[in-house]
């Protein structure tokens, strides 16, 4: 869930290095076996995580960045997952990769740190029992707004049908699931409902809402709040925190109709030739210390109980949504893989984005 463009320019290099890594391991055989390739969004883990992992375990790891879930999904589907060991993806994509048989079953004996997870994080709807995915970060999607310029919004309709003084001062996420999610919640429908009626109603609502937007923005929305260009933005809670960090008048709220529970997870590529090393990496990321450090660096909640309990309390004071309890989080519906519903869903989103 990051910017579509900034990352794509690094990809040729990532591919080259990934290719070189494959070539090396093919030639050098066992000598290079302990080298794994991780794919993650740019900036979605602390920059020295891989270095520390290598220091601790002796396993070489390198990062390949993807800009979006769709991008890494496309590569993994096209290449059967070859060249990757561990992937960071949002849960519907983990689910889809699992349906396609592209991710490996997780051997819990090799991931003892999974015991650090909250109980709720072990029974997530997309993968109860964490059979093929381990949650890395989770949170909600809501409204991030300037409390000095407007009263607290209470409904998704405050975004979709903004009052006159907010017209042209709101932004929405354009990533399909969250764009449609705002409408589904406003309509009181399931986030995973792809029936014709719901899609048509969501389309009407979102095409009308488009007229009042400042812009669609999936990457810099919090900066628009800071600069005052926007007064309220559709935001992931962690990204709203980046805005709160720059201006304490920025606040995050979940409308009365609720939110989605999004989960970004780690999966191991079934094509990985270093599954033990991949498991070691997953285990390392689930460590309490690493979890603390992840949460305080990227300002996302992690499903890591040991880590969240060890967080500096001042962090939660500054960023109140970091303190949301797992019980509160998991009462929201998760985004699921839409399966065949993906076709009408994608067509509806295309029509919304194409509308004048």
């Amino acid at each position: 869930m990051t910017n579509k463009f900034t990352n794509s320019f690094r990809l040729p290099f990532a591919w080259l290095t990934a290719g070189a890594a494959c070539a090396l391991s093919a030639f050098a055989g066992a000598a290079q076996a302990e080298k794994i390739v991780i794919s993650n969004w740019d900036g979605y883990m602390p920059p020295d995580l891989l270095e520390n992992f290598t220091m601790e375990t002796g396993i070489e790891a390198e990062l390949s960045v993807h800009g979006t879930n769709e991008e890494i999904m496309g590569k993994v589907v096209a290449g059967g997952g070859k060249g990757y060991d561990v992937l960071f993806v949002s849960s519907p994509f983990a689910e889809a990769l699992n349906n396609l048989g592209l991710v490996a079953a997780i051997d819990h004996d090799k991931v003892p740190n999974a015991s650090n997870l909250y109980d709720e994080a072990k029974e997530l709807a997309h993968d109860p029992g964490n059979n093929y995915s381990m949650p890395y970060a989770w949170g909600t999607t809501g409204l991030c707004y300037r409390s000095d310029l407007m009263p607290e919004p209470t409904s998704w309709n405050d975004l979709l049908k903004p009052s006159d003084d907010l017209k042209g001062k709101v932004t929405m996420l354009s990533t399909d699931r969250w764009l449609m999610g705002a409408a589904a919640l406003a309509l009181g429908k399931s986030l995973n409902d792809t029936s014709d009626e719901t899609l048509a109603a969501a389309k009407d609502l979102l095409v009308a809402a488009k007229q009042d937007l400042l812009a669609y923005d999936d990457a810099t929305f919090y900066l628009k709040l800071v600069s005052g260009e926007a007064t309220m933005v559709h935001a992931w809670d962690g990204w709203c925190n980046y805005g709160i960090g720059e201006n304490a008048d920025i606040k995050y709220t979940i409308p009365s109709e609720g939110s989605d529970l999004w989960v970004d997870a780690l999966v191991i590529a079934d094509a990985s030739e270093n599954k033990d090393a991949a498991h070691a990496f997953v285990n390392y990321v689930l460590g309490a210390d690493v979890g603390v450090w992840v949460a305080s660096n990227i300002l996302y909640k992690t499903p890591n109980k040991a880590a969240m309990e060890a967080l500096d309390p001042s962090l939660i004071e500054t960023f109140p949504n970091m303190g949301m309890s797992p019980a509160d989080l998991t009462k929201y519906e998760q985004l699921r893989d839409l399966g065949n519903g993906q076709k009408p869903f994608a067509r509806t989103v295309t029509e919304i984005m194409a509308a004048q």
Partner: protein
């Protein structure tokens, strides 16, 4: 070595490059357009014309039309800016010309994205332009300069005008000065000399630069996304989304084919124009 063998060897790398990076991908796109989408991207090998029917939906034709309109306006504005600039460079002393041309292409030394982001800083409601105008007391409320067609056209004109300057400069440079002197000697006023003697001889340059800008603009997706705020899609955004978000490769391929056809048509027209101009010069 025979001449034929020589030309095969010399043409080899170029033709191979074209075949591998142009013909094959276009062939793939052409094939994809006739299949159904897979659920997770890719294609299902089921033959269909559905993508073509869908692409002619007024919704998508409207996007083609809007993109063409924006690209056309961009082209006109770029030519209007570039012509005087190229003219001035041609008139400048010889030793300055290289330096001036380097200044024209200097922006290309930085990344397209960075150059486009710079316009966000200039145009936004708290940006350089609005702050300056407000500071000078010329406006009370900030102007909405960003996230609309205006901003998209500004971004495209800014990025592509240098190409037109170069194209027009090269055709201005090729004009035989004697034709201008002849016109003046025969008593033509400056304006008549320009529009009867100079302008017609630079039509190929204008066409080359113009077609180049139009083709690059109509397929652009970064500028409408960043400066247009993603609200007003151009055909480039529509295609981008089919491959990277909707995972509908066949529909994306069909739209690409329409776009490629438009571009090829224009490039062909430009080539005909250039050929005709070359032919005329040959007869002179």
């Amino acid at each position: 070595m025979t001449n034929r063998l020589k030309s095969v060897i010399l043409l080899g790398p170029g033709l191979g490059w074209l075949a591998l990076l142009m013909v094959v991908p276009c062939g793939l796109i052409f094939t994809y357009a006739f299949f159904e989408r897979g659920i997770y991207g890719g294609i299902d090998h089921v033959f269909t014309f559905e993508n073509f029917v869908r692409a002619t939906d007024p919704l998508y034709l409207g996007i083609f039309l809007r993109s063409a309109k924006i690209a056309f306006l961009t082209t006109i504005i770029a030519i209007l800016i570039a012509y005087p600039a190229a003219y001035a460079i041609t008139l400048a002393p010889r030793r300055w010309q290289t330096g001036l041309l380097i200044l024209v292409i200097l922006p290309f030394w930085s990344n397209y994205l960075i150059r486009t982001y710079a316009w966000i800083v200039m145009l936004n409601r708290e940006g350089l332009i609005n702050n300056t105008l407000q500071g000078a007391g010329l406006i009370d409320e900030p102007l909405s300069l960003l996230y609309n067609n205006f901003a998209v056209i500004v971004g495209l004109v800014y990025n592509y005008t240098p190409f037109v300057v170069l194209a027009i400069y090269s055709s201005l440079n090729r004009i035989n000065v004697e034709t201008i002197e002849a016109s003046e000697d025969l008593g033509a006023p400056a304006w008549t000399t320009f529009h009867r003697v100079i302008l017609p001889q630079t039509v190929p340059g204008i066409a080359a630069g113009g077609v180049f800008v139009f083709v690059l603009s109509i397929g652009n997706f970064i500028t409408p996304d960043l400066l247009g705020g993603g609200r007003l899609q151009m055909v480039g955004n529509l295609i981008y989304d089919q491959f990277l978000s909707a995972r509908d490769w066949p529909f994306g391929a069909t739209l690409s084919m329409f776009l490629i056809a438009i571009m090829m048509g224009l490039l062909f027209a430009q080539a005909v124009l250039a050929n005709r101009a070359a032919g005329q010069r040959g007869q002179d």
